[in-house]
């Protein structure tokens, strides 16, 4: 899939981001330099479309990533001319550009001060609050970032972006139960998001491995991890990460199946029996190898998988195969 300026560029590879930012001169030249924000002016000037502004925003982000600060500045000026300096999104973008321009940590401190000033005036400015959290995180002050984010989520608990960032922050600190709780909030807000289900499965798996096989919560985490991956695949039956995780979990469970599994029935989820786990493992292996085969060959309808993820899947499969051949020998 070719990178498009209509989608936010956060997931793009560096090469794709570079390609996008190289479109900057052409786009900046072809579009009118100012669009008036007054309704009267809008009637007489050239027509505008929401797509144009989405393009400007995404171009701004791509340009910042590739270091084209001049073009980024230009995008920002145009956005500001249209929507006004006191628009919350524009304020956040301006802060972002300043952060990118900052040469040394002292400048970043100044930007942080600015954010705090803005928030003192208007404490419901969500874009700026999020920028502040991101800045705190990139400056390594994670605990402050967490507390700022928790404060944001206290008055706006329906913000999926905030919850997933919080989950990521907790995960980076190894606080699995908190991370899982935050991600479950995202699942509540977006019940059909298969990527979030798979991510939750990954977190449960990490929590299980961290607590060790003997721990009492191990079974619970493994069971939920298995089910989350299964649900993710049920929602999107081509999702590579879902199959990868399913294979990982089932392989681990099968390896340990010799041990007596003591299941506690405290209302939690229960692990399925061994034959089901085996069949799930076979299913995941078959589907993964199919994806890897087609994707490597570049077949029609199988493109669009992340190369890194496909490579990881291939590695997992080959590890599995070598282990199997060792046993046979």
């Amino acid at each position: 899939m070719a990178p498009s300026l209509l989608h936010p560029p956060s997931q793009l590879s560096p090469a794709a981001a570079l390609e996008l930012s190289q479109q900057a001169p052409a786009l900046l030249q072809s579009s009118p330099s100012t669009v008036s924000s007054s309704p009267l002016g809008a009637i007489f000037s050239a027509s505008e479309s929401p797509e144009l502004w989405i393009k400007y925003e995404n171009l701004l982000l791509s340009c910042l990533r590739t270091g084209d600060d001049l073009a980024a500045q230009q995008c920002l000026e145009r956005l500001a001319a249209r929507f006004g300096e006191d628009n919350e999104r524009i304020m956040a973008f301006r802060g972002l550009v300043k952060e990118a321009d900052a040469q040394h940590p002292g400048k970043l401190e100044a930007v942080l001060k600015d954010y705090e000033e803005i928030l003192k005036e208007n404490d419901t400015n969500i874009p700026i609050t999020k920028r502040r959290v991101a800045l705190l995180r990139s400056m390594g002050r994670v605990s402050e970032a967490v507390s700022a984010l928790v404060q944001l989520l206290d008055f706006s608990p329906t913000d999926a972006e905030g919850w997933s960032e919080l989950a990521d922050l907790y995960l980076s600190q190894g606080m699995y139960p908190q991370a899982i709780y935050a991600l479950e909030e995202v699942v509540i807000l977006a019940p059909n998001a298969w990527n979030i289900h798979a991510r939750l499965g990954e977190m449960q798996y990490m929590a299980a491995t961290a607590s060790g096989a003997g721990g009492s919560s191990y079974q619970k985490h493994m069971a939920e991890s298995l089910k989350r991956f299964s649900r993710s695949i049920e929602l999107c039956d081509d999702y590579l990460r879902g199959y990868y995780g399913l294979k990982l979990v089932t392989a681990r469970l099968l390896k340990e199946s010799g041990k007596p599994a003591k299941q506690n029935d405290e209302g939690g989820l229960r692990l399925p029996d061994t034959s089901t786990i085996e069949r799930l493992n076979e299913l995941a292996t078959a589907k993964l190898s199919e994806i890897v085969r087609h994707s490597t060959a570049g077949d029609r309808g199988w493109r669009g998988y992340d190369e890194v993820e496909v490579a990881a899947a291939r590695e997992l499969l080959s590890e599995d195969a070598s282990a199997a051949s060792r046993i046979e020998r």
């Binding site: 019940p191 059909n192 049920e234 929602l235």
Partner: protein
């Protein structure tokens, strides 16, 4: 298993449903207006005019089914939930809406253009 649970397990994306029915509605109201032009120019009166409209809108639904719905529905095999060859459940929630919805949606537009062109041509 209750219907509600089934929808929770296999969710239906509301936006897609809205988009599909909006496409259908657009087609229906456009064709209804055009049929009105046709009926007016042909100078059809009373029952024959309404019959013309009925036949034409059913024909449109049929063509829409054959050209747009049937190929993917029948190929995937998942959409055939008991309706046999004329099953539209892959794209539309209600069969009745698909086949006869056009009759109601386009009627006002049909009468408007029918009257206009009948008046222009005949009277």
């Amino acid at each position: 298993m209750s219907v509600e649970r089934e929808f929770q397990i296999a969710p239906i994306v509301q936006e897609a449903v809205v988009h599909n029915s909006r496409t259908l509605l657009n087609l229906q109201s456009l064709t209804a207006s055009l049929f009105g032009v046709g009926a007016g120019i042909l100078g059809l009166e009373s029952y024959s005019g309404f019959l013309f409209y009925l036949v034409c809108s059913l024909l449109t639904a049929m063509l829409f089914y054959v050209v747009r719905v049937a190929p993917t529905s029948l190929a995937s095999g998942t959409g055939t939930g008991g309706g046999g060859a004329f099953d539209t459940s892959r794209y539309f929630r209600s069969q009745v809406e698909f086949w006869t919805g056009g009759l109601m949606n386009g009627l006002a537009g049909f009468i408007l253009t029918w009257t206009l062109f009948y008046g222009l041509v005949r009277a």
